[in-house]
């Protein structure tokens, strides 16, 4: 089965105060602000090559507005349009959005607005494309190179997991199964990394976190230092997940949305031969937080 989704392309997150939160996203998290149009700001990691990966939109509440996957080829959008029809999924065609071409928009069984698109302005990363240095000097804050994945909540995880597997053809890298053998959480991928999106139990449309990649153990600890220097609310970490093996810090933006710095370098790489790994719910502690071996008070209850 060919890969048709290249990555989690964009997430749109709500902000209770855009000016305040932009200061945090630019100077503490260290994303590149690429544009601001009215109540929405467009940002991305320094190594991302398209116009933006994070939309921050001012609203009266926190949480996620939508998430969007970028397809590998333009034809993949037609392929998915056929699949949506085949599975009788209602969808809208969005002719264009800011610096982006045609998209298919639908609501997943998890309650999330999901879009698929292929065209977005290719602006390059912040480095030159001829004889570039390995990284740019003078970055602010944590400065993650890229958006990595998102984790969302669903009232009936098996239905949502099945939708992403069957309709959108994601593969499961890992899953958490209850004593009846039912998956209550799953980590799903197409890009060769442990997950582009993960699903855990919770309310429809809930936003658990968006994760940005950091590329070394030094960068992980530096991120924790920067968050603490700015008195950010750290939820957990630095630590490691049993699932994905990725190193992690969970923390919150000033509007209360959870973010993560995820050690892409510590997580394993996927290849087409990988088969799903199972974790049993009696081992949910080390599955999520490997070192403390137990869930904290907030992992399954606090999200926006």
């Amino acid at each position: 089965m060919p890969y048709r989704i290249s990555r989690l392309g964009t997430v749109e997150i709500r902000s209770l105060d855009l000016d305040r939160d932009l200061d945090y996203y630019v100077n503490v998290l260290g994303l590149q602000l690429t544009a601001r149009e009215g109540r929405t700001a467009y940002l991305k990691g320094w190594d991302e090559r398209h116009a933006y990966s994070l939309m921050l939109t001012e609203a009266d509440r926190a949480g996620m507005v939508r998430l969007a996957f970028r397809t590998v080829d333009p034809e993949d959008l037609d392929y998915y349009e056929n699949r949506l029809r085949q599975f009788s999924v209602k969808y809208d065609v969005i002719p264009e959005d800011y610096r982006r071409g045609r998209a298919l928009r639908f609501t997943a069984p998890s309650g999330h607005v999901v879009e698929l698109y292929n065209e977005m302005d290719y602006t390059g990363n912040v480095l030159p494309t001829v004889n570039p240095p390995p990284w740019p000097e003078g970055l602010k804050g944590i400065a993650p190179p890229r958006l990595d994945h998102t984790l969302v909540t669903a009232p009936e995880p098996p239905k949502a997991i099945q939708f992403f597997q069957e309709v959108l053809e994601f593969r499961v890298s890992e899953m958490l199964v209850n004593p009846e053998g039912v998956p209550i959480a799953a980590w799903l991928w197409q890009r060769p990394s442990p997950h582009d999106i993960a699903i855990v139990p919770g309310r429809p449309g809930g936003f658990h976190h968006a994760a940005f990649a950091v590329d070394s153990a030094e960068a992980l600890f530096r991120a924790a230092d920067i968050l603490t220097m700015h008195k950010a609310r750290i939820d957990y970490g630095p630590g490691r997940h049993g699932i994905t093996r990725g190193t992690t810090i969970y923390f919150f933006d000033p509007s209360g949305n959870r973010l993560e710095t995820f050690g892409g370098y510590t997580a394993y790489q996927m290849d087409p031969d990988c088969r799903a790994i199972k974790w049993t719910t009696d081992q949910i502690g080390p599955a999520v937080f490997y070192y403390s071996q137990e869930l904290n008070e907030t992992f399954l209850s606090v999200y926006t």
Partner: protein, 111 residues
């Protein structure tokens, strides 16, 4: 915003009291006192730290309308991570707040 004070925050039904400066949140005052309480994002977004005011006034701070509606505010609800006191307060704790205080042996007082 008025930042006078400090004010006294009394908790019902326990009778515990903490001192809350006019420029700090109720949650910050609780944690500074050495007590523990459940809280989440500390940004007014998740609603985990919601408490109910029995008497007194607070400045609510910026909170998500999805977790703290105007109707809830009218019924006394506030988010302790954002709210700052404008007077002495009496606050009702529920099981969801999981307020607990470590014994003095584990929490020395400083001055």
């Amino acid at each position: 915003m008025a930042a006078a004070g400090p004010y006294t925050v009394s908790f019902s039904p326990l009778g515990d009291r903490v001192v809350c400066r006019g420029d700090e949140t109720v949650l910050a005052a609780i944690l500074r006192s050495g007590a523990k309480v459940v809280f989440g994002c500390r940004g007014g977004g998740c609603g985990t730290c919601k408490m109910r005011l029995i008497s007194g006034q607070v400045e609510y701070g910026r909170c998500s309308a999805a977790v703290l509606s105007e109707a809830e505010k009218a019924a006394g609800a506030f988010l302790s991570c954002r709210a700052q006191p404008l007077s002495d307060l009496t606050v009702e704790l529920t099981a969801a707040n999981r307020y607990r205080r470590l014994s003095a042996a584990y929490w020395p007082t400083f001055g």
